[in-house]
Structures are given as C-alpha cells and as structure tokens.
C-alpha cells in the first residue's frame, strides 16, 4: 500500500452544506487512497458523508448550499478541485463516472433506455448518432440485456435490470474510476449478487478502479480489495480487506462487526453500537466517536486522535487502539 501506487488520492477533504441558519460539516478532513484496478470499500452509517465524498470527486455537489472548504482530490497527479469547469467536463462521465443508489429514480422515466446510454457516449465523443447507438447496444448486451429492448422505457424493466442499465450508462465511456454509491442497496439479495458479480467482472475487464460506497460488510467482503471505515465525516480506519476483517482496531469498526448477528449462536438480542452519530452542525472536539465508545477517556473528549499504524500495518485513528484490539482478540 505504498503512496506512489495510489491512483486517486484524497487529502484533507472538508465539505460543508450550509443554509442561512446553520452549517453542516459533512466531510471533516478525509484522506483516502485508491489503487489502479482495485476496489476500495467506503463503509459507514447513514449521514457519515460517503455520498458527499463521491459527489465531490465528480464535482456535482449542488452549486447552492454546499462548498468544498479545503483539500485536494488528485487523479494521476492532477488536482480535480483546481481544474476549470471546462476541463472537468471532459473528465466527468468519461474518466470518472458514477453508479447511483436507487435504480428506480436514476433513470429518466420518459426517455428510452437505449437513448440514455447513447447520450452518455455522445456527450464525450464525436461519434455519429448511429455509432453511439451501436455502442449503447453493445453495453446493453454486456450487462445481460438483449438488444431488442433498446427502445423500451425504464418502467418496462425490473429493478435489477434498471440497475444494470445504470451500470451500462456508467461504463459506456470505459471510465478509469467508477464511483458506485450503494449500487445494491435498493435490490434484493439474489439480484445484489448478480449485480456485484457483473460489476466485478466488467471492472476486471477494463481495469477500472472502483470506489464502492456501502454500509453492508457482506458486500465489502465479496467485492473489495481495500476498506476505509468512515465515521462522522472522518476516516477512522483504513487497510486491506483482510487487515480490517481479521484485525479491526478502531472501537467503531469493532462495534460494526459486533453488530452483525451471529448465525450460528442463539443470541437473544442484537448488539448495536449504543447512541447516535454526533450532530453534524456542531464542530467536533476530540474524537467524534468518543460519546459512544466504551474505551473513551478524558483524552478522547479533548484531543483529536492521530492516525497510528496497527501491528499488522494498517491505519487507525484512535487513542485507545490497543484496548480495542485486546477486546477484539477475546
């Protein structure tokens, strides 16, 4: 996991949403590295800032009511946040594209699905309409939908098929980076598996890097190479999938794994992490997780934790990492 190999690098990213009354600190100094052709899982609960990070990369945050306060997002040595809008437009949808969460609403209901795929191609190439349509048909076939459904409307497809179409749109220009925002959350489990297999297969074929946003650790286990755990707009733990799954070191990560119901045992109760995420409108003092953490000391409430290396070499931001590790060993 050396620095020089990382393809997409996010450094100290800080994003705020604001209204006339209050400021919501959605992303608070996130550092992330993604490697060429690999999949990085971004795991965290609702409101942790996962989608905001993805939208910041594409720079499609709403013009009104949001701002990227500081930080850099570097792809191949180029800082996306410093690019002019015109240059950004060449990248958006072409080099970097996004799969949206809910296939039911991510397609234009009154446009034929074929046209929607073909539109994505046409916006980035000088190809004629016929060639774009041909490409769109190829994409349809690639995601397992027959060509003759090219001129059908979204309402004529099932949820899983719609998500395949959304994936086809995202992959139509052979992007170098794919941002998948909970691509399987809206689907049932069998379709989930199909869609994940499809994405993984296409990703391997085109050597695409993928940022997979999810709150499902099962999905992470199936697809990801690396994992970053995000809490309240901060990355609390980052490492390879094996490191995180075998040696979770941050109390929050430990809590997440602890919350997965044990299929073998006969537990009476689930084991949730007590409490709620902090109010994002208030600045965080010390460690964001401290109020919910059973290892919390006075230090946790007053000092922002720095990132440590764990014994197996991955990164974790916690004052009491050793205690958490011990707990996990038990």
């Amino acid at each position: 996991m050396s620095e020089n190999k990382s393809y997409l690098k996010i450094e100290n990213l800080r994003v705020e949403y604001f209204s006339s009354k209050e400021v919501v600190h959605a992303v608070n100094g996130v550092n992330l590295r993604m490697h060429k052709g690999k999949t990085l899982g971004l795991v965290g609960e609702t409101g942790a800032g996962k989608t905001t990070i993805a939208k910041s990369i594409l720079r499609i945050l709403p013009d009104v009511g949001s701002r990227i306060v500081e930080g850099s997002i570097t792809v191949d040595g180029q800082d996306l946040l410093k690019l002019k809008e015109n240059d950004m437009r060449k990248i958006r949808g072409n080099d970097i594209s996004m799969i949206f969460q809910d296939p039911m609403t991510a397609l234009n209901p009154v446009q034929r699905v074929g046209e929607q795929i073909s539109e994505a191609v046409r916006l980035h190439s000088d190809m004629s309409k016929e060639d774009c349509d041909k490409r769109a048909k190829e994409m349809l076939k690639m995601v397992g939908i027959t060509e003759d459904r090219f001129s059908e409307y979204p309402h004529q497809f099932s949820g899983g098929m719609k998500q395949r179409i959304v994936i086809a749109i995202a992959l139509a220009c052979n992007p170098k980076i794919l941002l998948a925002d909970e691509p399987t959350t809206a689907l049932d489990v069998t379709i989930q598996a199909q869609v994940l297999d499809l994405v993984a297969e296409l990703q391997k074929k085109f050597n695409t890097s993928m940022l997979l946003i999810t709150h499902d650790l099962g999905v992470v286990a199936q697809v990801c190479d690396d994992v970053a755990i995000i809490y309240a707009g901060q990355i609390v733990e980052y490492g390879t999938k094996e490191q995180i799954f075998h040696h979770p070191s941050h109390p929050y990560t430990v809590g997440l794994f602890g919350a997965i119901p044990d299929m073998a045992g006969d537990d009476e109760w689930l084991h949730p992490i007590e409490g709620l995420p902090p109010d994002p409108t208030k600045p965080i003092k010390g460690c964001a997780f401290a109020p919910r953490c059973k290892f919390a000391t006075d230090k946790c409430f007053n000092e922002t934790p720095v990132t440590h290396k764990t014994p197996d070499g991955h990164e974790c931001s916690c004052h009491n990492m050793k205690e958490a590790l011990k707990e996990e060993e038990k």
């Binding site: 949206f100 209901p109 994505a120």
Partner: protein
C-alpha cells in the same frame, strides 16, 4: 403498470396515453366534434351555401327556413354560412393563442424553475403582477393597445395565460429537479440546457398539456367576449362573438340570430372540455391500468 403480452412491448408513454384516451367515450365524442369542426373550418367556403358578406335584401331577419337553415340577420346575410365561416376564426384563435401562451409560459417557467434563487424570484414576481390583474381586463387592455385584427387579438388573448402555464411548469420542475436521474444526468456531463430541455421539461410537461386543452375553451370564450364588446375581430368578419354582439339588439324579436352563434360556441367549448377531461384522466398516473 402491468405490461401484458407482446402488444405493449416498446410501448412509449405517448402510445399508452393514446390508448387510455381512446377508451374514454366522452373524450372521443369531444375529439370527433373538434375534428368535424376543423374539417368544417378548412372547407368552410365549399360548405357554406352563401358568402359570409352576401346580402339578400328580400330576407331580413328571417327565421330558419329551407333556403336559410339558421335564418338571416338584420341585413339579410345567411347565418348558417356565417357560423360555418366563423368556425375558422374562433377555433384557430383558441388553438393558436393557447399554443403561444403555453410555449412562452413553458420557456419562462423552465428558466425560473431551473435557475432558482433570485432569477426565479424576479420572474415569478413579474408573473404575479400579470396574474393580479383580472384576466378579462388584461385581455381588453392588451387588445385596446395592440389594436384589432386577427393576430393582434391572438396576442392579446395569449398574454393572460402565460403566468398560469409558467407557474405550472415551474412547480413540476422544482419537484423533478431533486430527482436522482437529474443528478445522474449531471454525472455524465449534460449541459444545463440539455438537462432542462431533454430531461426536466419532458418530465414536467404533462400538467401543462392538460392545462392547454382546457385553455382552448377558455380562450374561445374570451375571444367571443372580446368581440362582443367590440374589440378583437371586427365585423363583417363572422367571428361567433362578433355575431352575438351584432345580434343583441334583436334578441327579443329574432332570437335565432343569437341562438345559433351561441350554440356554436357552447358546442365547441363543451367538446374541448370533454377532450380536456379525457386528456387529464389519461395522463393521471393514478388511473394508469
């Protein structure tokens, strides 16, 4: 919506709409009447037995007879022929004025709905000003300022309906703007213009189409009112409203002079409203079967 059988494959929203509409009897009757009227309007000179200015000095204010089906007016003109020719004016004015006001309203509403913020505020407050005037008064003022004549009257009739169309589109656009497919459109690099006209407007326009069908009958009545008070289309052009206006002095002695143009207006408005109701029902997603 359940898709049954091969027949519906590749079916578009539009063909589904047509299918729904075709099953609505009242709407079909309305449509038939309108088509008949359009046919009459196009071939009016061939259908009308007399010229609309032709005077029969021996038959003043005659009640209906075999020679003059709807009777004659105070200077001996055949009312049947005048009603037939009048179809051209009333119908085309209703349709054209509605199209113009809707087109302008949709563009204004799209800009306001998409831009938001201060631009939206300025546009909507300007429309508020127009809408705060009583509709008929505005039409009268516009007509007086622009002068009489066919196109000026159409313009005068259009202005009053622009705010309603703009407001309707804007409201629907505000709802669509937050939809995920719009975000998705941004993510594949659509330009704002493309997002407005390719993605937002087609998804927001259905209410406006219903409003348009309803608007036609409203405009026809307004045009008639305008002619009735002496603005708008001028005699001897046989606009239905103008005919009513000319006949009002004889309403007691020769009621047929008022009845037939009045009936023509009533039938047209009824037909348009029947069609409009059908369009609304066919477009209502709750009624989709």
């Amino acid at each position: 919506m359940i898709m049954s059988g091969k027949k519906h494959k590749g079916q578009s929203e539009f063909s589904r709409f047509i299918y729904q509409l075709s099953k609505n009897k009242m709407a079909m009757i309305g449509l038939a009447i309108i088509i008949l009227e359009v046919f009459i309007a196009v071939f009016a000179p061939a259908i009308a037995p007399y010229g609309y200015q032709e005077i029969d000095a021996n038959a003043l204010r005659q009640p209906p007879s075999s020679a003059h089906w709807f009777g004659t007016d105070e200077i001996g003109r055949d009312i049947f022929s005048r009603v037939i020719i009048g179809t051209r004016y009333s119908l085309s004015m209703g349709i054209l004025a509605t199209l113009i006001s809707s087109a302008i309203g949709i563009v204004i509403g799209a800009i306001a709905g998409f831009a938001g913020g201060w631009a939206d505020n300025v546009i909507m407050r300007a429309l508020d000003v127009i809408q705060s005037l009583p509709g008929m008064l505005l039409v009268i003022v516009m007509s007086a300022v622009l002068g009489s004549g066919y196109f000026n009257t159409i313009l005068a009739l259009s202005v009053g309906s622009i705010p309603a169309a703009a407001r309707m589109l804007r409201a629907n656009m505000l709802r669509q703007r937050k939809a995920e497919y719009i975000e998705a459109a941004y993510s594949i690099n659509c330009s704002p213009a493309r997002i407005i006209f390719k993605h937002l407007v087609p998804n927001s326009i259905s209410a406006n189409i219903v409003q348009m069908t309803m608007g036609v009958s409203h405009v026809i009545v307004q045009a008639a009112s305008l002619s009735f008070i002496g603005l708008g289309i001028q005699p001897p052009t046989p606009d239905w409203g103008a005919m009513l206006s000319g006949a009002r002095a004889f309403i007691r002695k020769s009621p047929h002079m008022v009845i037939f143009p009045g009936l023509a207006i009533a039938i047209t408005v009824l037909a348009v409203n029947m069609l409009g109701d059908g369009v609304r029902d066919a477009m209502d997603p709750k009624l989709k079967k």
